[in-house]
């Protein structure tokens, strides 16, 4: 009973905050709603017994991704009012497409629910002797090492791409070069001059 209440509460909060993400006028508010929806989705994971995924969602999505979004939104001077200019214009056709897709999905889910969804298909049982962080750890570097390594290469490409597309060597930027600083001699930095009284120092 309590579980059902918690489920409906968190599911409603997830959906509601998702709606506010796209409808909030202020982009900063959108990101804050997004964080709320991540939190309630994490709560749904906990209800299903997937604590590790819940923590991952909070740490990675709330802690890193959403905060990064917040920085980007606050730092970039994006005129969101102008971005939304076409909103009303595209709303009718977008709405029709979304409605059609929703009707299709609802029909399919009814058709599927009639036949008992995925009933009868084998589902991998959770290991009885391990917490779910441990059971993910057991397969991640063994059975799924191929995907793990490949995902690593995907991240490597993302890094190369970020560097290729943003790194610029500007010719006229003055950088500190410790080697030249340390290697500087007194003779090429200082000169003793004896100016006559009443005359300035000429350019040396």
């Amino acid at each position: 009973m309590l579980q059902a209440i918690a489920f409906y509460l968190m599911a409603a909060v997830t959906l509601g905050s998702g709606l506010f993400v796209i409808s909030a006028r202020n982009p900063v508010h959108s990101v804050l709603w997004l964080i709320l929806s991540f939190f309630s989705a994490a709560g749904l994971f906990v209800l299903m017994g997937a604590e590790f995924l819940a923590m991952l969602l909070v740490v990675v999505y709330v802690g890193a991704v959403a905060v990064l979004f917040l920085f980007v939104v606050m730092m970039l001077d994006v005129d969101f009012v102008r971005l939304r200019e076409g909103y009303a214009q595209y709303l009718p056709i977008g709405g029709v497409v979304a409605l059609l897709l929703m009707i299709e999905m609802v029909l399919v889910s009814f058709a599927v629910a009639d036949r008992g969804a995925a009933a009868g298909k084998q589902i991998v049982a959770a290991a009885a002797d391990a917490s779910n962080a441990e059971s993910i750890g057991r397969v991640l570097y063994t059975d799924y090492v191929y995907f793990f390594q490949a995902a690593g290469i995907v991240l490597l490409i993302a890094m190369i791409g970020a560097i290729v597309l943003t790194l610029r060597h500007k010719p006229h930027v003055k950088r500190q070069d410790i080697h030249t600083q340390v290697g500087r001699k007194r003779s090429n930095a200082m000169a003793v001059v004896t100016p006559k009284t009443g005359e300035g120092i000429a350019d040396q």
Binding site: V108, V112, A117, A118, D143, A150, I153, V154, I160, V164
Partner: protein, 476 residues
Amino acid sequence: MLELFNHPAAPEAIIAIAALVLLPVGAFVGNARAALISFLGILVLVAAAIVAGSNQLGVLFNGAFVHDDFAAFAKVAIFLASAVAIYLGHGWLARRDDEKFEFPVLIMLAALGMSMMVSAGDLISLYIGVELQSLALYVLAAFRRDEAKASEAGLKYFVLGALSSGILLYGVSLIYGFTGSLQFADISAAVAGGAGTGAVFGLVFLICGLAFKVSAAPFHMWTPDVYEGAPTPMVAFFAAAPKLAAMVLFARAMDAGFLGAQAQWSQVLMVIAAISFVVGAVGGLVQKNIKRLLAYSSIANIGYAILGIAAGTQMGLQAMLVFMVLYMVDVTAFFAVIMALQRNGQEMDTIESLRGLKREKPGKAIVLTILSLSVLGMPPFSGFWAKYYVFKAAIGAGLWPIAVAGLVASVVAAFYYLRIIKVMWFDEPVSPAGPSRAGPSWVAMAGAAFSFPLVLVALYWLDPLARHAAAAFGLQ
């Protein structure tokens, strides 16, 4: 030691290790010696192609990685096409004093992603392979970041690619939910007696996602803009190897994973093929830019390749492989000619700018004529043989109406290829070409020589090889 090269995943390991070594080496020697990195990259890809063609077949990682005849055939073609792309791209960037050592590394990593795609035996390796390849392509599209058009192309490609990945993943999650497995072998067992509504629903999303990647209509919107904006050698690469990889992945997902639902996906693919014919043929008629024109041409051509898969027979798969290989050669050579043509420092990328090319550069005009005739499908050039295989397979499987639509589309499309030829041979030149640093065009000449008469020799061994590769799924 030599046994290592015989391992089923040896080509991927070679490329991955080489890319990881060349990246820091490149960072140390700097962009000034990018030529060295490019040269080594080409060597590595050629070596990987040789290994992929001769190593042991096998299934690894609990079925996630499948190296069979079908994958081996595609890998050899993909690695060789990527090596050519490095050669073309390096020369092009060097002529603009914009060499970067990351370029060959990115092409190698894209090739790695493509070989993951063709070997995918599992929906996760399908997705990671697609992402690995696409992410490298997004960067390549925006590689000339100071050009507004190239940045726009990169951004468009990235946003629409991310959308299509989302659609693909949604399909994957539905399939997982309704069949209880991510592996093609298990999925195929689950849908053996006919797929349920849920699995078919997921399958449709999967097909939509893959159709985005191969730029089949109605998921083609990004293609003309990306082709026009991205640097020409990158487009030459986009149009060849990644298309083959995605088509092979398409075939594997359908025939290894969803053979039981063939009646359903075959219909969807036929519709996609038919729409691609129409969009490709009609859309190309009004184009003024050659790169946009080739984008529409590629949409139409992907339609023919999809028709091969829709046939659902071994002959259809063989036709798809032969078609894609011949198309890859044609399209790479076509872009190589465009790269080798310059007028006053500007790339001649509009049809108008080709006026009177025969007077200025007769050699290149002849090459371009041969290639246009070949893409058009004129016998005895290679494009004709490619289409011949597809139509034979489609008619063999009883897909008469779509085959006729394809035939009509290629007649309509003939108009725009013939217009290129007409402009080159019969129109007055605009202005004399000034001195320019256009590249060598031997890749283009080799491509033209391949499209006729070398194709006849090549088909002699391409035909049995493709048939052998297509037999990997044990279809009819």
